[in-house]
Symmetry: C2
Subunit: 342 residues, 2 copies
């Protein structure tokens, strides 16, 4: 169920992650049965639990109250789940993590109930976050959600824009901005949560908060680049969803941008850019890109961000010995991000 | 722009309401232009601002910090606006308050961007609420949102269920439960906000919070019943949207339930219940119900709830003289709810 928790370097928070899982399922009674069902489905769906792990590790490292941290860890996972429900609806995705999406289910499920279930997940996330009893954290939590929605809006409006060769650098900037917004902002917020929880409420930022934010931002960017690479190189079964889905939606990710830099006149990818979304063309374009140097170039950028994430932690104040395993886990987690195959 | 603020009994909070309006527009810079445009559209759309008015009146009555109350007032209005954006999308509503809905707009607007704009509004609402710097209030805020989404889910799943005559009493219970969830819960939360803000953080509930909650709950139920009556009796121009929209969506509101109690075998309404949604049938059913005693029966129930709302305020502790105008405004606001024609 908890894929990341199965990784040995996360043994240090194994029990906390289990509490997060239990807390999510301890969902208020008496809601419509469809809501209970959706929460259980989400809890059992084998998400990576990256965000809760970051909240818990930084909380241990900073000496924050772990009971409160468990609420916040559950909150960030629910927020993430809420955004996925609406994303899948918008993209018309039929499968996620090998499981049928809500929007793909038969009557009485519908686009309408999918919108509302996502909304409920947002509300439940805010409810869990408010139980961490920290105003600063609530402020960052809602700011992260604003940034995510803004990023999704950009993605939606930028889709299907064909970059000219001269505009590729600009497309790279826009790509980084977009993946910060849609992925790295929440990962950064999760990583800094422990530092925020550990400082007295309404106090100015501790230096640690900035360190953890930088770690999470770089980790999040690397994580999304790897996701975008896996959309070309993974097989469908490991990925839990069809490959090539970004291209199919007209979304130009880093591997495509590197490919175009090298082969601006490739006829197959050119056809995709001009709007040909036939399965044959998409699959041929995916194969071309997957077998091109663009993959290694994109992975190289991801590794560089992971390096920056790890370096950020050098700026942490001297730690007590008991904290060392949590710091090591954060370093291992960063390495895992670029090693993973799912 | 602010319809309620034009009512003389709200003069006491005129300047505060103007601050709420300005605050909403002081929206974080640098978002995608579509988001800025949507926030401005919402701010200028002439909502009644009932919920902000309640936050402000209860805050003045309870001696809460008005700067914080202004944030909370803006938050509840944004939350309300967020739910309307998703509601209109789900219902396929084309016009609200006389203005084209987001989902009805041409490219680049789409169902996808409408979902995301609603999500952004949720995030912005949570952001504003977090700036009221009160954990208790954040908890109630997120609880109200959970209740609203649960109510919407119920409404979605209960649609098109035909009540038999013997099940009409049960349908009435379900109706009350639904309108509490979708409307009265946020109005109750808005009304109690001032009492929550005025008490020290993390303190147990003051008796005033319960009084204001009861006031808001009864007011909210009355408000929704009147809305449901106006959906039959108002003209389209005053209402700012087509009449009969509930019936068109298979939603049985109080006027229909009273009508069916009296005339369970009416052939026209029967046809609607059996799924005939042709314009001619809907308009004939609307005309029949609008001219039946069901309207006065439903209005009678609304008046009873308004009476209960006003009586709830009798339980407030003795007030200082300076507070009297705010209490009077709450009483007048309750009376206005059943008098209004929009």
């Amino acid at each position: 169920m908890i894929e990341l928790a199965a990784l040995s370097f996360l043994n240090v928070i194994h029990d906390d992650l289990a509490r997060v899982e239990a807390l999510i399922l301890e969902h208020p009674h008496g809601r419509h049965e469809a809501i209970h069902w959706a929460v259980e489905l989400m809890a059992g769906s084998g998400g990576k639990r990256l965000r809760p792990a970051l909240v818990l590790l930084s909380s241990h490292l900073c000496g924050a109250d772990i009971d409160r941290a468990v609420f916040m860890a559950a909150a960030v996972e629910m927020l993430h789940a809420a955004t996925l429900i609406h994303d899948d609806l918008i993209d018309g995705a039929l499968v996620r993590r090998g499981v049928e999406t809500l929007n793909a289910r038969p009557h009485p499920w519908s686009p309408a109930t999918t919108v509302l279930t996502g909304d409920y997940f947002f509300a439940y996330a805010a409810h869990l976050a408010s139980q961490a009893i920290n105003v600063q954290l609530m402020q960052r939590f809602s700011q992260a959600l604003m940034t995510i929605c803004d990023g999704e809006m950009r993605q939606m409006f930028d889709k299907d824009q064909q970059p000219t060769t001269s505009a590729l650098a600009q497309a790279r900037d826009e790509y980084e901005r977009r993946i910060y917004a849609k992925t790295a902002s929440l990962i950064a917020m999760s990583a800094e949560a422990g530092a925020v929880l550990a400082q007295p409420d309404n106090c100015v930022d501790s230096p640690s908060a900035a360190v953890f934010h930088a770690y999470g931002r770089e980790l999040g960017i690397a994580f999304q680049i790897v996701d975008d690479v896996l959309d070309f190189t993974a097989d469908e079964e490991t990925l839990g969803k069809p490959v090539g889905s970004d291209l199919r939606h007209g979304l130009l990710t880093l591997p495509v941008l590197f490919f175009l830099e090298d082969r601006p006149d490739d006829p197959v990818v050119g056809r995709v850019l001009r709007g040909d979304r036939s399965e044959a063309t998409i699959q041929e374009a995916v194969r071309l890109i997957a077998n091109s140097p663009a993959i290694e170039q994109a992975n190289g950028i991801a590794r560089r961000h992971v390096q920056w994430a790890k370096q950020a932690l050098d700026d942490l104040p001297a730690l007590e010995c008991s904290s060392a395993p949590y710091r090591t886990a954060l370093l291992d987690l960063a390495d895992f991000t670029v090693r993973r195959r799912f």
